[in-house]
């Protein structure tokens, strides 16, 4: 089976500093892949390289076997890859519903003239988009907030809307950058359940960066551990947890006098 998303020998240097080097991983369809590592390990940089925001300097990324390296972020998004950001990235001037409908951009065919004239095609696409947006807002538990301005939501609510906006176009892969940031501990089980439902009900492959280790360990099918820009371990959560290299990366080595 081809991997849904595969990263081959990915490297990214800023000047002489290698932020990522030789990162290789393959994630099968409908898997939750946790990506963990100490601060500065290159987790967010890896997501940026995959989705094209910061193009890698070496290696390539394959989506369903097709190379996507070097494409513009918008072209990669059009192939069914979405991401969310560490800090909330909703469009503050739009309502929740308008934000989520904007997530459908790549699938729309209405052009400039349709917009100026308010053509039938535009209206039909929009009506369908609103329908989809309401359904996905319900899916993430934000159905009652459709008409709120995005900037008026709490941080945790914004994260959920951002996930809805990423899901509305029915992508095959979603990259989640710390979705649990800003959520209280008693909501962790909610986000855990939501991530599983995204995988099971919608068949989406998730790459999950998360600092809340308990959440990653519980929800991930497998985990890739990064340290200083390279992969130091990969495997099922219980394997990774006991890997000496991982323990060293997180806790450091014992100092022997």
């Amino acid at each position: 089976m081809t991997a849904r998303i595969a990263v081959e020998g990915l490297g990214l240097s800023f000047g002489g500093v290698a932020a990522l080097s030789g990162v290789t991983m393959a994630v099968p369809p409908a898997e939750i892949r946790g990506i963990i590592g100490p601060n500065g390990a290159g987790k967010t940089t890896l997501l940026n390289a995959i989705c094209g925001i910061v193009p890698p300097t070496e290696g390539r990324v394959l989506l369903d076997g097709q190379p996507i390296t070097g494409l513009k972020p918008s072209a990669i998004a059009a192939r069914g890859l979405r991401r969310t950001f560490q800090t909330s990235a909703l469009f503050g001037g739009l309502t929740v519903l308008e934000n989520v409908v904007t997530g459908l951009h790549t699938g729309l065919r209405a052009g400039l003239l349709d917009g100026i004239l308010g053509s039938r095609r535009l209206r039909a696409e929009e009506a369908e988009g609103i329908e989809k947006a309401h359904r996905v807002l319900e899916f993430v538990g934000m159905a009652g907030f459709a008409d709120r301005r995005a900037s008026a939501l709490s941080f945790g609510q914004q994260r959920l809307v951002e996930i809805a906006r990423a899901l509305v176009s029915e992508p095959s892969v979603v990259l989640l950058d710390e979705p649990a940031v800003g959520l209280s501990l008693n909501r962790l089980s909610d986000i855990d359940r939501l991530l599983r439902r995204i995988r099971d009900e919608r068949g989406v492959t998730l790459l999950l960066i998360e600092h809340v280790i308990r959440l990653v360990m519980e929800v991930s099918d497998s985990i890739t551990v990064l340290a200083a820009g390279t992969v130091i371990a990969e495997g099922r959560p219980e394997q990774v947890r006991q890997d000496p290299a991982v323990v060293t990366a997180y806790l450091g080595t014992a100092v022997h006098a």
């Binding site: 918008s74 409908v101 308010g118």
Partner: protein, 342 residues
């Protein structure tokens, strides 16, 4: 902002589009009967509305702080007038040609400008504006230099109407059509893409919105509006001179959208009216105009950063929406299941 319950006030409150159309109808009936000064002011108002709406599409909706609008206004005016003067083409040809010329120039400057953001974009477009002005001033063989030139005004426009009334009628018609077109556009996928680029470029791109294409669309559209307004200005005055397209006029246009409201079509119209009112009110005090505009701009930025539209948006039914279909009444947040709460 949650959906408010439908009250009598909500239902009786006229929507912006009806207020605007009634105002336009009143203008259409009253202005031609007024004296020639008031007719001129009405004509200028229509042209300013087109300018402000076009500038707001680029600056207010797409977030591109460009300073080329007055120059593109000039290119529309010069293009329209010079084709008439040098080649004797009729206005029905030269007006669209001037607007298209401005659009092409606007798109051309957008290509390098799109790679720049923020202050750099401002500086690059400012440099372009100064260069354009220099061409108007010094390419004397074509543009007639600093003194400007007269443009013969058509009397064929609408048989039986004076050139003044005819050019006013055309300006009013175009102002209505172009304002409605912009109001429609911002409620489409194109408009939402523009707002998305303004509110977060990286997030917009990650959703599949092509930054360059969206910005180029905004630049081109905005230039088309400026060019059309320029052609109408030449038609109205029968005279074109470089000083009408200098930095002071750029500041006037910025003042229109800042005072009216950035990212608001209603605000653009109101801002155009407010600036024109102040400009004409202070016509006798030439030096005071610039001071008054400085104060107005600073006051607006400090005391009402969302412009007049910021207040109007609080009226029932006046908040600008970016979807056509009215959202179904949302249940009050309290009705949301407990698990959905943060």
């Amino acid at each position: 902002m949650s959906a408010r319950p439908e009250t009598l006030l909500t239902r009786l409150m006229p929507r912006p589009i009806w207020v605007g159309l009634v105002a336009a109808a009143l203008l259409a009936v009253l202005a031609p009967q007024a004296n020639s000064y008031l007719l001129f002011v009405a004509n200028q108002l229509c042209i300013y509305v087109i300018l402000a709406v076009g500038l707001n599409l680029l600056v207010g909706y797409t977030g591109q702080l460009a300073f080329a609008h007055a120059a593109l206004f000039g290119i529309g005016a010069y293009g329209t007038a010079l084709l008439k003067v040098h080649f004797g083409l009729p206005f029905i040809v030269t007006l669209p040609a001037g607007a298209l010329l401005a659009t092409v120039v606007g798109l051309a400057i957008s290509l390098p400008a799109l790679r720049l953001t923020g202050l750099y974009l401002t500086l690059a477009t400012l440099a372009f504006a100064q260069f354009t002005l220099w061409v108007f001033l010094h390419w004397e063989g074509v543009t007639f230099g600093a003194g400007g030139f007269r443009v013969p005004r058509p009397d064929w426009l609408l048989p039986g109407l004076s050139p003044d009334v005819g050019s006013f009628a055309l300006a009013l018609l175009l102002a209505i059509v172009m304002t409605l077109a912009a109001a429609s556009l911002v409620r489409s996928n194109t408009g939402r893409a523009m707002i998305a680029v303004r509110d977060g470029e990286v997030a917009a791109e990650a959703l599949g919105i092509d930054l360059l294409r969206t910005k180029a669309t905004a630049f081109g559209l905005s230039a088309f509006y400026a060019g059309t307004a320029g052609g109408l200005q030449a038609l109205m005055l029968g005279y074109v001179a470089p000083e009408s397209f200098d930095l002071f006029h750029m500041a006037l246009m910025k003042a229109m959208i800042v005072v009216g409201g950035m990212g608001s079509i209603v605000g653009s119209v109101i801002g155009a009216g407010a600036v024109l009112f102040l400009l004409e009110g202070l016509r006798a005090f030439k030096g005071a105009q610039e001071i008054a505009f400085g104060l107005l701009l600073m006051g607006a930025v400090i005391f009402f950063p969302r412009g007049v539209a910021g207040w109007l948006q609080a009226l029932p039914g006046w908040a600008e929406r970016y979807l056509r279909t009215a959202p179904p009444p949302a249940p009050e947040p309290d009705a949301v299941p407990e698990e959905a709460k943060p």
